[in-house]
């Protein structure tokens, strides 16, 4: 009798769950660190002086023009070559965070630059300093504007986390491959893993829509 998929799934449940847990942790860490870094990148691209701006321009262009897989491999092998021994997990998260930061940086820059100049002028005219103008006038508007793109990037990060399997991080994809190498049910288990990725990203998207609704300005 051939073992059923459900039996195999039950046997592999802990392995799958640990893979899923790792995938979620990698994605969360990368999104979090990448967003913090990305906001800094976006601010530098928007408000940086003649020295800062080109530096970050080059940074984002290079990162955005590089395949994520290359970033992951570079982060892992280059770091060990130069003597900073990052474990695969850290190296992978670093690569994804850097990738995320370049996208978030562009999103933040776009969001801020899309705000009409009249907003800053009106804020100045009532005596707000630049810091206050940014905090109360520009940032809240930019946030609303780039939320959808940001959610999109977050979902991209979950997908990109699969690339960490190539440097041996036991996230969901690598775990799935392990399981398949034992039971040869490739179709079923790849399909199942795909469904899990879909569920995670669907959750992110729903959450984004929810925040969008909550913060929408009535008109």
């Amino acid at each position: 009798m051939t073992p059923s998929f459900l039996d195999q799934l039950w046997l592999a449940r802990n392995v799958i769950l640990s893979g899923l847990g790792l995938t979620v942790s990698i994605s969360l860490l990368a999104i979090l660190a990448g967003s913090v870094l990305g906001v800094l990148v976006g601010l530098s691209l928007t408000y940086g002086n003649r020295l800062i701006r080109p530096i970050f321009r080059v940074y984002t262009d290079i990162i955005r023009g590089t395949p994520v897989l290359v970033l992951v491999l570079a982060s892992y092998y280059v770091s060990s070559a130069v003597g900073v021994n990052l474990d695969p997990f850290s190296a992978g998260v670093l690569a994804l965070a850097v990738f995320c930061s370049s996208h978030v940086g562009e999103i933040v820059r776009g969001g801020l630059q899309a705000i009409p100049k009249g907003q800053t002028e009106a804020a100045k005219a009532i005596g707000l300093t630049f810091g206050q103008t940014f905090a109360y006038v520009l940032w809240p508007q930019a946030l609303r504007q780039f939320l959808p793109a940001w959610v999109n990037t977050a979902a991209e990060m979950v997908k990109a986390s699969t690339l960490l399997s190539v440097i041996g991080v036991a996230e969901l994809l690598l775990r799935t491959q392990e399981i398949i190498s034992r039971n040869f049910m490739s179709l079923q288990f790849y399909f199942f893993a795909g469904a899990l990725y879909f569920v995670v990203n669907y959750g992110i998207e729903r959450f984004g829509k929810y925040v969008e609704r909550k913060t929408a300005v009535p008109s």
Binding site: G118, E121, A122, I126, T129, P140, Q141, S219
Partner: protein, 256 residues
């Protein structure tokens, strides 16, 4: 004559190689309502923007209540004041823009309160009371909780005027505040400005509404290619312009 509020001497401003203001001299006294007229591109907007330091300028001085705006002398050098000082000085003049520029993510009330809270650092209750008082004054007491996107252009402009005036500025600057409005909404905004004029608010208003300028202004300044072409009371200027330039300009303007 009453006290001088604003003193402009030799104001010069260039954009690249284009000299937009070529030496403006002008004193504004307390309670004066000055209409600034002139053809498009003559420098009217730029003049207002310099007074509020929304533009840096290369030459001359602007004094508000005796205090130099934007710059100070350091030995023989002219230095831009710190951003903090400039922000404080900007709060002394109110400005209303052609495009309203309300903060779209805030209610009408929050728009008016922002400067009171963050610049004047008033407690919330007090700021809200002042905001409501001014929204009431511009006829929008019942719209305090509305967002700009829920208001008509005329209503938005009135909120914008309330936002500026609530800061209790020494001087109000209006830059073609009715130009972006549908004709049927112009009247309600002009009515608000008339009310402020009657209260004795000192103001400079750039306008294409010649009839309004004639009725409300105590003085008219005609800007022509970056200089003041004529400066006088509305009756003399509209009825008997001294320069051909002004006569030509008035001929092409509509008095409706």
């Amino acid at each position: 004559m009453s006290k001088t509020i604003l003193e402009i001497e030799g104001l010069r401003k260039t954009y690249g190689s284009l000299e937009v203001l070529k030496g403006i001299d002008c004193a504004v006294h307390e309670g004066e309502v000055i209409a600034i007229i002139g053809s498009s591109g003559s420098g009217k907007t730029t003049l207002l923007r310099c007074i509020n330091m929304l533009e840096d300028f290369e030459g001359g001085t602007i004094r508000l209540d005796g205090e130099e705006i934007g710059y100070h002398a350091e030995g023989s050098m002219r230095r831009r004041k710190s951003e903090k000082d400039i922000a404080r000085q900007r709060a002394l003049t109110g400005m209303a823009f052609q495009q309203f520029n309300l903060f779209p993510h805030m209610t009408a009330e929050a728009n008016v309160m922002l400067g009171l809270l963050k610049v004047k650092r008033l407690p919330k209750d007090e700021a809200r009371a002042i905001a409501l008082k001014w929204l009431d004054r511009v006829g929008l007491g019942d719209r305090a909780g509305h967002f700009p996107g829920q208001l008509s252009g005329g209503q938005q402009q009135r909120v914008a005027i309330a936002r500026a005036i609530a800061m209790n500025p020494r001087l109000m600057l209006f830059d073609e505040v009715t130009s972006a409005l549908d004709p049927e909404l112009v009247g309600e905004v002009l009515q608000v400005i008339k009310g402020l004029a009657a209260d004795g608010m000192t103001m400079l208003l750039v306008t294409h509404e010649m009839r309004f300028a004639y009725e409300v202004a105590s003085r008219v300044i005609f800007m022509n290619q970056g200089v003041i072409g004529e400066d006088g009371n509305p009756r003399e200027m509209f009825v008997a312009p001294k320069t051909e330039r002004l006569a030509d300009f008035l001929k092409t303007s509509s008095f409706n």
